[in-house]
């Protein structure tokens, strides 16, 4: 058992962290219903850029902007 680290914050799961994993990592096995890898990559990269700027805004104490326009 460790004492609670004073400067380490265990953040709630942010969408950025989640998207980085669920869309970009994990075992890749082709299924019957295929979402082309290129499609996923495009969605992922676009999403990541949007989410990263939201996250840094939140980190700076600003409120999150309204949802991004649809791709």
């Amino acid at each position: 058992v460790t004492t609670e680290p004073a400067l380490t914050t265990e953040q709630r799961v942010t969408l950025v962290e989640l998207v980085d994993r669920v869309l970009d990592k994990g075992v890749v096995i082709s299924g019957d219903v295929t979402l082309a890898v290129a499609d996923v990559d495009l969605v992922y990269l676009g999403l990541r850029a949007v989410l990263a700027s939201v996250a840094s805004a939140e980190r700076a104490g600003l409120t999150a902007p309204s949802p991004p326009p649809e791709a």
Partner: protein, 276 residues
Amino acid sequence: MADAPRASSSRPEHAYYVYGVVPAGRGPAAPEGASGVDPCFPPRILEHGGIGAVVSEVSLDEFGEDALHDNVTRLPWLEAKVRAHEAVLELLLPDGVVPMRFSTIYRSEEHVTDMLERERGVLLRALEHVRGKREWGVRGVSSADALAASVEESDEQVQALRAEVERERAGRAYLARKRLEQRIREESDRIAAACARESHEVLRAAAVEARTNALPPEDAGEQRVFLNGVYLVRESDEAAFREVLAGLSSRYGALGISFELTGPWPAYNFVGGDDA
């Protein structure tokens, strides 16, 4: 374009969404508490050849090829499904789950067991690799202002340039200020890079496996992520891992550097095999 997820009015058809795999032997029931990517169908375990696929049925109206193609471009839809995917896997963390990438979908149960048969070697190796371990994420974040302040305090060249800025008149002072700003930026980057290297090394030493992922796109924010590390840690070593992190936090705190820990996660970053 439509606001609602795309759906067709034809007869509903189902497919099987695979979240990941666990070792066989826990029975067909998945733990309760997560509703699955299609809330109409609870997740369950489909066992074959020593491996259990974590599956739930999904409507092809939502997860068929065309519908899926459209739906993934809608952030609210994607967020809900990505969170559901993770929620199901998190409940299976104690079993040693191997996560699959989003949207691994089969037309029938038979096709799922065919896949388990075909990929048996890869999946068994992955299950063995993650057994008794969990993934943790560490982000190193620096505050540009705090880092600059500590550079001002410790760097002689910066202090000399600061004196020059105050001593000189307009034109020269302007040039000196430019050099001062550049020096502060370079020193800040150097410190952050050194901190990233050192932090990753000591965290790696407390982990079974470690990787660094791409940093978020640069923006003009005051806070910058300089380390985006992921670590596969034995459960028995988690306390030690946290202590290492606490040590880094107290060591670098005065420089305006902090660390954000996330987890435990299913081992998404340590089962891919592609560029791992």
